[in-house]
């Protein structure tokens, strides 16, 4: 059997080909000729990927071989799409990609014994939540589409939610690892509904409250949906009580309904979602044009570089936020249903590999951490694609690894690093006779 790292190396080949072909496609579209620049981009990307691969070979030889190539595929695809929108943005994105890989390497280097995270779980949780408030700080906070999502210090802008999601998952995984037993055993049946013990459930309520708080304070429906879904997923996996999920969902819906009817921003988002044709030139413009762009893509799409993003001859956007929120609509337009399904399948494969890591992991924290990271990643993809295809209200979260956005790329590479750390240990334990690796339960 080929070793994990060799399989990873092989899997990187199609990624490099995809990227080179993609750039070549966009180039030939825009310049009517094929320069060698596309090959340079492809070679550069492949070089960076190879370096990462070599690093993984040394540091995490047993880690899952497909996760990195799959994410590299998304990054490559994202780079081509962003390049197609704006060359300058793509250059930024490429730099963010490199920075992301640096952070990826640093995470692997310093968190080789990632259980130390457990020790700092409250610090991490509080730090993550505080990060969310930064965009409200006058002077550096930015308001985009009515939501306070971004922070801008000098030339560098980032979205703290991207990092908060990791912090929250780490906290929940650690907390639930410790309290899952009591949550199960202490559960009581009241009026036929199984309720968790309040004492141990308290911190969960804090997370629920924080999620709702975010809805109001930073006006970010998408992130709160994403955080809360990840929370429910972890709660379910940790306790095996589906009723907890139902209760949680009910609480979220009640809270969401309350805010939807009292907070104009949230109310408007829901309204646009339900009745986009009410104001096709105003509030419904973005979602309608998202759907129109998809209708135009058909089965095979119009081809790279073919989609109209602005009204020709003007600066009026035909697909607002094409490089971030709307990038999926652009993908459907340019590579069609087949291309879009391909993208979704890559996310599906990542989710499958991520959950596989969780299944293989030997201890509770690792299991929950891998589950949480995978879930939050998959749900983020669902929230934004779901918004673009009108399954749920459109909210401003990025499409992981594809959307333009530095913090998104960097944070997701950190997420990937953590997953690979868990995976490396799990597969090493599986491969080697038990006992040589200290059992983690003992450390807690």
């Amino acid at each position: 059997m080929t070793s994990a790292r060799n399989r990873e190396l092989l899997a990187l080949v199609p990624v490099a080909i995809l990227l080179t072909a993609g750039f070549a496609g966009v180039f030939s579209q825009e310049n009517d000729q094929l320069g060698n620049l596309s090959l340079i981009y492809g070679a550069y990307f492949l070089g960076v990927c190879l370096a990462t691969h070599v690093y993984l070979r040394i540091r995490l030889p047993n880690a899952d071989p497909y996760l990195f190539p799959l994410m590299a595929t998304l990054t490559a695809f994202g780079l081509v799409m962003v390049y197609r929108i704006d060359e300058g943005l793509a250059r930024d994105q490429a730099n963010w990609f490199v920075l992301g890989l640096v952070l990826f390497a640093l995470t692997i280097h310093f968190l080789r014994d990632y259980e130390v995270l457990e020790r700092y779980r409250y610090t991490i949780a509080i730090g993550g939540l505080l990060l969310l408030l930064v965009p409200r700080v006058p002077g550096i906070g930015q308001q985009v589409n009515g939501a306070y999502l971004g922070v801008k210090i000098g030339p560098i802008a980032f979205q703290p939610t991207e990092f908060t999601k990791i912090a929250i998952v780490v906290f929940l995984a650690s907390y639930l690892r410790e309290h899952r037993e009591v949550l199960i055993v202490g559960a009581r049946r009241i009026l036929g509904v199984t309720l968790p013990p309040l004492k141990h459930f308290g911190p969960m309520l804090v997370v629920w409250g924080a999620s709702m708080f975010m809805l109001v304070f930073i006006r970010d429906l998408g992130s709160s949906l994403m955080f809360f879904a990840a929370f429910l997923a972890l709660l379910y996996v940790a306790t095996g009580r589906f009723s907890f999920v139902v209760i949680g969902m009910a609480m979220f819906l009640v809270g969401a309904w309350f805010f939807a009817s009292t907070v104009p921003h949230v109310h408007e988002r829901v309204d646009i979602w339900l009745h986009p044709y009410a104001d096709p030139q105003g509030s419904g413009y973005q979602i309608l044009n998202s759907i129109f762009a998809q209708a135009d893509g058909g089965l095979f799409g119009k081809g790279f570089g073919q989609a109209l993003i602005v009204v020709p001859g003007t600066d009026n956007s035909l697909l607002p936020a094409a490089q971030t929120d709307m990038i999926y609509a652009l993908i459907v337009n340019e590579v069609g249903l087949f291309g879009a399904v391909g993208v979704i399948l890559v996310y599906t494969l990542i989710a499958a590999r991520g959950f596989k890591v969780a299944l293989l992991a030997g201890d509770g924290f690792s299991k929950l951490l891998a589950t949480g990271l995978t879930a939050v990643f998959a749900i983020q993809a669902f929230v934004i694609i779901g918004g673009v295809v009108r399954v749920i209200p459109l909210t401003g979260v990025t499409l992981p690894f594809i959307s333009y956005g530095g913090s998104s790329i960097v944070a997701n590479f950190v997420l990937l690093a953590l997953l690979l750390l868990v995976s490396d240990r799990a597969r090493r334990e599986a491969a080697e006779p038990a006992g040589r690796v200290p059992a983690l339960g003992a450390a807690a």
Binding site: E30, A238, F292, Q294, G313, I344, A378, F382
Partner: protein, 488 residues
């Protein structure tokens, strides 16, 4: 925990499946409907990036063409109409911001060269850029010019000329005209002008009382159903009491017992009123429908820009049918609540001219791809067999009398036998005409040469104080002459 992880994993897969489902719905299953939405400017914007094909008159005159503007990514094509108002109707316009209309809208797919999804992939792989096809129409630009000119002299109205044997539309003029080039600059002015309604194609959407021109239909029903022969006489008094109101001939003239020839030549109301009553609702409505009444003419113009003709329930804007109560004597002479479009009346003339066979009226003639290959030709097809050849011949004889010695002498062309029928419907108090008491709708329908018809024409003029023979018959003559001269 593994059991839960597997379940969660399955749930996440299900979520992604939902995404694939929705994406499929928008991009494939609902795509066509979405492309039709008014809010969706994308198809038009994209079409603007490909050179739309030209529209040409039969003689090669360029009616519409596309010119490039801008460079690179902002390069786009804008429509130009070199002849201005001349072909505003029935060609219409096509602009991104204001959409498209009439012929431009109906033939959009050919004009933008839209192929199947697979052929566009092939094009993409081969590096072809999409280009539109040219469409050559049957429109005779000289005759169109004459028709537009005559209408401008006579007043609002429309002229339609059809080649009887093929259904080819050679003239379709509507006054007030509009210049499609002006649409981007004064759209709201054009669209909101409720008096002149320049954007309305009166040939297909102007519903007017057809007056005595409708007697051709009544006569056709009488002859073809066997109710009368050309020799049958009906006593035609000066006045006839119908449903409590007297139905009169012009000047109350009493004709005594006369046959079809005399009745049509002199447009005798009491004669046709009685014939109508004798035929009954079922028969008259059946023949109306055979001539195309009660349905939209099957012409190559957008369905919402073509109106059906028939007896209307004016209040509800609904068509009445054979089982509805109507004053049949007045329907038979083109009054009551009967309304007809100029296109419909041209179809009546064309059907009689073509031995009773009504051909599908079509403006387009052929499609020529960017390489100059003819990819499609208009195939003449029979829309309805209105009456027998014999009936058509008998009608032709009677209609010749109208022009040679009757009420339509101004339609005569020297050296060419002409068959036709005048019509003058009184439209007192018509608000569109300013509410005057002496306003008429003047008509002439006919064809020439009567012995070998090459062209069938309907001309209709609104808001005139004169009669069909004074204002509509001369238009017929001018247009017919131009077309017949052009054919020599």
């Amino acid at each position: 925990m593994n059991r839960q992880i597997v379940k969660l994993s399955a749930f996440v897969m299900a979520l992604f499946a939902v995404l694939i489902g929705f994406t499929s719905y928008w991009s494939v299953f609902d795509a066509e409907a979405l492309k039709e939405k008014d809010a969706n400017k994308r198809p038009l914007l994209e079409q603007q990036q490909i050179p739309r094909g030209r529209i040409l008159a039969a003689d090669g005159t360029v009616i519409a063409k596309s010119v490039a503007k801008g460079k690179g990514a902002s390069k786009r094509y804008v429509r130009r109409y070199p002849e201005g108002t001349l072909f505003g109707h029935p060609i219409g316009y096509s602009f991104v911001k204001y959409g498209d209309s009439e012929f431009e809208q109906f033939h959009n797919e050919e004009l933008v060269g839209e192929g199947s999804e697979f052929s566009s992939i092939a094009d993409e792989l081969l590096g072809h850029t999409q280009e539109g096809n040219d469409i050559v129409t049957s429109i005779d630009s000289e005759a169109q010019r004459v028709a537009v000119g005559d209408l401008e002299e006579q007043g609002f109205g429309a002229v339609v000329a059809i080649e009887p044997s093929t259904g080819a539309v050679k003239v379709m003029a509507s006054n007030a005209p509009f210049d499609p080039n002006r649409v981007p600059y004064e759209y709201s002015k054009l669209a909101n002008d409720n008096v002149e309604t320049p954007l309305l194609n009166r040939a297909t959407q102007g519903r007017y009382p057809p007056g005595s021109t409708f007697k051709v239909v009544t006569a056709a029903a009488g002859l073809d159903s066997g109710a009368i022969t050309p020799e049958t006489t009906i006593d035609a008094p000066g006045t006839l009491e119908v449903e409590g109101t007297p139905l009169q001939n012009d000047f109350n003239e009493d004709f005594g017992p006369i046959a079809l020839d005399t009745a049509l030549t002199n447009s005798v109301n009491t004669w046709f009123g009685q014939l109508g009553q004798q035929l009954g609702n079922d028969t008259l409505f059946e023949y109306m429908e055979r001539f195309g009444f009660n349905s939209k003419p099957p012409i190559d113009l957008p369905e919402d820009e073509v109106l059906p003709s028939g007896v209307y329930d004016i209040e509800n804007d609904e068509l009445l049918h054979a089982n509805d109560p109507v004053d049949l004597a007045r329907v038979a002479i083109g009054q009551e609540r009967l309304l007809a479009t100029p296109l419909q009346m041209a179809q009546v003339a064309a059907a009689v001219a073509n031995g009773g066979k009504l051909m599908k009226p079509q403006i387009w003639k052929r499609v020529v791809d960017p390489d100059g290959r003819v990819t499609d030709n208009m195939d003449p097809s029979v829309y309805s067999e209105a009456v027998s050849k014999e009936t058509a011949e008998e009608l032709t004889t009677a209609m010749e009398g109208v022009v040679s010695e009757g009420t339509g002498t101004n339609a005569a062309i020297s050296g060419v036998p002409v068959a036709g029928k005048t019509g003058t419907a009184e439209t007192p108090g018509n608000l569109a005409c300013g509410g005057g008491e002496e306003e008429n709708q003047a008509w002439f329908i006919g064809f020439a040469p009567a012995d070998d018809p090459k062209i069938a024409i309907a001309a209709s003029v609104e808001c005139t104080e004169q009669f069909g023979n004074d204002v509509a018959a001369p238009i017929f003559r001018d247009v017919a002459e131009t077309i017949l001269n052009g054919e020599e």
